[in-house]
């Protein structure tokens, strides 16, 4: 059931509190409720559960057997959590942690403030795109500048007018989804602009945009200035060779460049991974704080919704073990990456079970890369995860078959490109 009314009491106890009703949180809640974990409650600050897929009005969600659109997938996950007996409370914002050894969070909603104590907490707060300000793009501050998340909500959830000519900054999968949304809203895509030397999406998709819709892709190009007073009038771009040009437009969509929404994790004093900027977790998704787990794109911004949901289920298993008395694992050595790799998740090696796989990102294209895993100068593992070229902003994976060779008392485990 979904509750939006006042909480029964200002201070309550639940068995498991899940923060965030996106794919990871909903999947964790469904699994936990179905397994009889007791009262499982999901807190969601938005008016509806489902997370980011709610406004991804395109396919590519669900499973191979049950393909779905984003909204369909969000509905499926929500229904499945509710059917299992989890309580989803929308319009309820988690504010902070209650100081002390117990696991209690404060929250507020239309019913007022409340304190919720839980035997276990799962953080599934997701990720967001970095806006223009965080990217330090100079220029004026006109209206008409947004992220994909804002664009998709405006068009697909609110039916708002978004302007007539849009420049899409980025050329990864989400950028092409943004371009589709611009067209769905009846506006023109002036160009996609990427600092990289090629699109970071499938060749078919990139080709379809360029040839099918006539959208130019400006590679090796960065947006160096936003122009216009009141409304955006154009963006100045600069090519790697120094040439500059002004693209006339009234809308600029900054896509990709996702970061974990880690406020709740930071307020709870959780150790963050310097690469992902999300909470550091081991293969079973234990954070540094006993009783607190994390799953989904707060760990790795971003992987597909299906990956987040699978992680939610994985976290549920670890929560059940914890509730049954399995002790909290010692921190264990951190798992770090060397440039051009940017981050890896999970990023702690503990005695708890290894993950099905690790996900990584590279900052530069890698052709037939070999990933090597070292600890204290000792080679633990090497593998060739892909036969082709691995691009920035695309998923790169590493198996966890080497985990048992890690010395739990040793130094950091390093992953590098050989």
């Amino acid at each position: 059931m979904t509750e939006t009314g006042p909480a029964a009491a200002a201070s309550r106890r639940v068995d498991v509190l899940v923060v965030g009703a996106g794919p990871a949180g909903l999947a964790a809640a469904a699994r936990l409720a179905a397994a009889g974990a007791g009262r499982v409650e999901v807190l969601e600050r938005e008016p509806a559960a489902g997370g980011v897929p709610r406004h991804c009005a395109h396919g590519g969600f669900g499973t191979w057997r049950r393909p779905s659109t984003g909204p369909g997938y969000a509905r499926l996950l929500t229904e499945s959590a509710e059917r299992a007996g989890a309580v989803i409370r929308t319009r309820t914002t988690v504010l902070d942690w209650v100081a002390g050894p117990c696991r209690a969070l404060t929250a507020v909603g239309p019913g007022g403030p409340e304190t919720i104590e839980a035997r276990a907490v799962v953080l599934a707060t997701g990720a967001r795109e970095r806006p223009r300000t965080a990217r330090l793009v100079p220029g004026t501050r006109p209206a008409g500048v947004c992220t994909t998340g804002e664009l998709q909500q405006a068009v697909h959830l609110f039916g708002q007018h978004i302007g007539t000519r849009a420049v899409v900054v980025g050329a990864e999968s989400v950028s092409y989804a943004a371009a589709d949304t611009v067209r769905a809203a009846g506006a023109e895509v002036v160009a996609l602009v990427t600092e990289h030397s090629r699109a970071q999406t499938g060749r078919i998709r990139a080709g379809a945009a360029r040839l099918g819709h006539g959208v130019p892709l400006l590679t090796d190009t960065v947006v160096v200035e936003l122009l216009g007073h009141g409304r955006l009038s154009g963006v100045r771009v600069r090519h790697r060779d120094g040439r500059t040009a002004v693209l006339a437009c009234d809308t600029a969509v900054f896509t990709g460049d996702f970061v974990p929404d880690h406020e709740c994790a930071r307020r709870g004093g959780l150790v963050l991974d310097p690469g992902t900027r999300g909470p550091a977790v081991d293969g079973s998704l234990h954070t540094s704080r006993p009783g607190v787990f994390a799953a989904g794109n707060v760990l790795h911004a971003v992987e597909p919704a299906g990956t987040a949901a699978a992680e939610g289920a994985l976290a549920a298993r670890a929560v059940l073990d914890f509730l049954a008395g399995t002790p909290w694992p010692d921190p264990g050595p951190p798992l770090t990456v060397e440039a051009p790799l940017r981050w890896i998740a999970p990023n702690r090696v503990t005695t708890a079970g290894p993950p099905a796989r690790h996900v990584l990102r590279t900052g530069a294209p890698l052709t037939r890369p070999v990933l090597r895993v070292h600890q204290d100068g000792r080679l633990l593992h090497s593998e060739r995860p892909a036969l082709g070229t691995v691009l920035p902003n695309r998923t790169l994976t590493l198996t966890a078959r080497w985990t048992e060779r890690v010395d739990p008392a040793g130094g950091p485990v390093r992953v590098s490109v050989g």
Binding site: R45, E46, P47, A48, A49, G50, R54, H55, A57, P71, G72, A74, R75, T90, R91, T93, L95, V108, G109, P110, G111, G112, P113, R128, E129, R130, P131, R132, T133, A134, L136, P138, G139, T140, R141, A143, C146, T147, G149, E150, Q153, A154, V155, H156, L157, F158, G159, Q160, D180, T181, A184, A185, V224, E225, L227, H229, V259, D261, E263, R266
Partner: protein, 488 residues
């Protein structure tokens, strides 16, 4: 009797006793001061679509003690007086002020040697409570300060304030007490036939007395009246605003020691719980050049890295550039022209926010001296401004408020924790916002780290529908079909 706020259409045909050109912090403060005299007919005219749209919205948001002013200047006196007046006014109106104190941090021997002189000057400016700190005490007070600081001068009275609520409180009180506010009204010409006839973008406006509080454009307006006393050179100040998660990094306003090379860059907390880094100081000739530049931002970050290294790891939630009205003279340019029944209030530099109420009182005195009959005083009804400050309870933190009205517990902007109730109140206020930017300044909605990724369209929906009923997504949710897209 409440005044009217207009944004389009013809202007009233009446002759006002006083017309104030420019609804920045100074113009609004003056309108409020004059509105204490109920017999006066007052109009505040503004070229843009909202109050406080120029320099008043893009400053460092500091309530100065005036410790480093040039002693004996008008600015020094008005800043000192204004600081006291605004401090008291803020407390009465619910404008957030935090007396965090400032540290002038010395990074080399020359700067350290300058500190005693600054303490001396502060004493002459009425700030006897400054104190020199050695590195030990400095780092104890600011543990995240970058390495290499040699000492500091502590100025305990320096405070941070909400510049936006201050301007809005003045204007709200003025309008409620009977002053008219005409927005989108650019003054293009001025003539006199016994009284002032202003030609504006919305027609003619008549006034017995005229006050020029046009900020960056004060020189242009002055020339319309036949004066060529000064030229405003816009001095651009670019600033970076860091996310609330950076706030624990800094406790005081960290000021540079002023040297011959200029004032330099400061790091300061804001009452909203952010951290500011800036400003640059670039003399320009374009009064619309409110853009930031790659060089400017890179320079600020380099300086910020030295002052507070950990700050650079945090997210930037706003980049803005304000233009200060520099006139080539280190003092305000306030001049009475009795023969024209005209007062110029020019060259109000970065201290204008602090000095605003004192400037208003001073100018009111000048108007009275040139023959304006102020009439009796009736103190205007007090205003209580919505609290945007983190040091005071925000609506979402007030159970009694939420119990009375659940809209205050329904958060729309999550990063800044802004409720539907606050947005509704802003839309229903005496001077409502006309754009998302105006709404942002009144409520903080959309000014957090996501910049609208989560809340942008929901906030826009509230602005555009004026909260007439529930938003579309809400309607869908209650209809049991939350995910039907509007289009596509």
């Amino acid at each position: 009797m409440t005044g009217t706020v207009t944004e389009a259409g013809p202007l009233p045909r009446r002759t006002y006793d006083v017309v104030i050109v420019g609804a920045g912090v100074v113009g609004c403060a003056l309108a409020r001061e004059l509105a204490r005299h109920p017999r006066l007919g007052i109009a505040l005219v503004e070229a843009q679509d909202d109050i406080g749209q120029g320099t008043s919205k893009a400053n460092t948001a500091i309530l100065h003690t005036g410790f480093d002013a040039a002693p004996g200047t008008l600015e020094a006196r008005l800043v000192r007086e204004g600081c006291e007046r605004l401090g008291a006014y803020a407390a009465a109106c619910g404008i957030p002020v935090e007396r965090v104190g400032a540290l002038l941090v010395a990074w080399d021997e020359e700067q350290r040697a300058a500190l005693p002189r600054l303490a001396d000057k502060a004493g002459r400016n009425g700030c006897p409570d400054t104190r020199l700190l050695g590195p030990g005490e400095l780092y104890a007070r600011e543990p995240h300060l970058g390495p290499g600081a040699l000492g500091a001068l502590h100025v305990p009275g320096e405070s941070i304030v909400c510049p936006w609520t201050t301007t809005l409180a003045y204007a709200t009180q003025a309008v409620r007490a009977g002053a008219d506010l005409h927005l989108n009204t650019a003054v293009r010409g001025a003539s006199r036939d016994g009284e002032h006839r202003l030609t504006t973008s919305r027609g003619t406006l008549r006034a017995r007395h005229l006050v020029n509080a046009a900020g960056l454009h004060a020189d242009s307006v002055d020339r319309l009246l036949g004066h060529d006393d000064f030229t405003v050179t816009p001095r651009r100040g670019q600033l970076l605003v860091y996310d609330k998660l950076a706030r624990p990094l800094v406790r005081h306003i960290l000021l540079p020691v002023p040297t011959a090379l200029g004032k330099g860059v400061l790091v300061a907390p804001t009452v909203y719980g952010n951290v500011l880094l800036g400003p640059t100081a670039e003399d320009l000739d374009d009064k619309r050049a409110t853009g930031s530049t790659a060089d400017g931002l890179a320079g600020l970050r380099a300086k910020g890295r030295r002052i507070l290294p950990a700050l650079l790891d945090e997210e930037v939630t706003a980049v803005y550039a304000g233009l200060r009205a520099a006139t080539g003279q280190e003092d305000y340019r306030i001049a009475a022209h009795p023969e024209q029944a005209y007062v110029t209030v020019g060259g109000i530099r970065s201290t204008g926010l602090t000095a605003s109420m004192a400037v208003a009182a001073h100018v009111t005195g000048l108007l009275a001296a040139m023959g304006l009959d102020l009439g009796p005083v009736r103190e205007p009804d007090p205003v209580t401004m919505p609290n945007l400050g983190e040091a005071f309870p925000r609506p979402y933190q007030r159970p009694e408020l939420i119990a009375a009205d659940p809209e205050y517990g329904t958060l729309v902007c999550h990063c800044e924790r802004v409720s539907r109730g606050e947005i509704r109140d802003a839309l229903a206020s005496a001077i409502p916002p006309r754009s998302l930017e105006g709404l942002r300044r009144r409520t903080r909605a959309r000014s957090g780290r996501c910049q609208g990724f989560y809340c942008g369209p929901a906030v826009r929906e509230l602005l555009e529908t004026g909260l007439s009923g529930q938003t579309r997504e809400v309607r869908r949710t209650t209809a049991g079909k939350p995910f039907e897209g509007g289009r596509g």
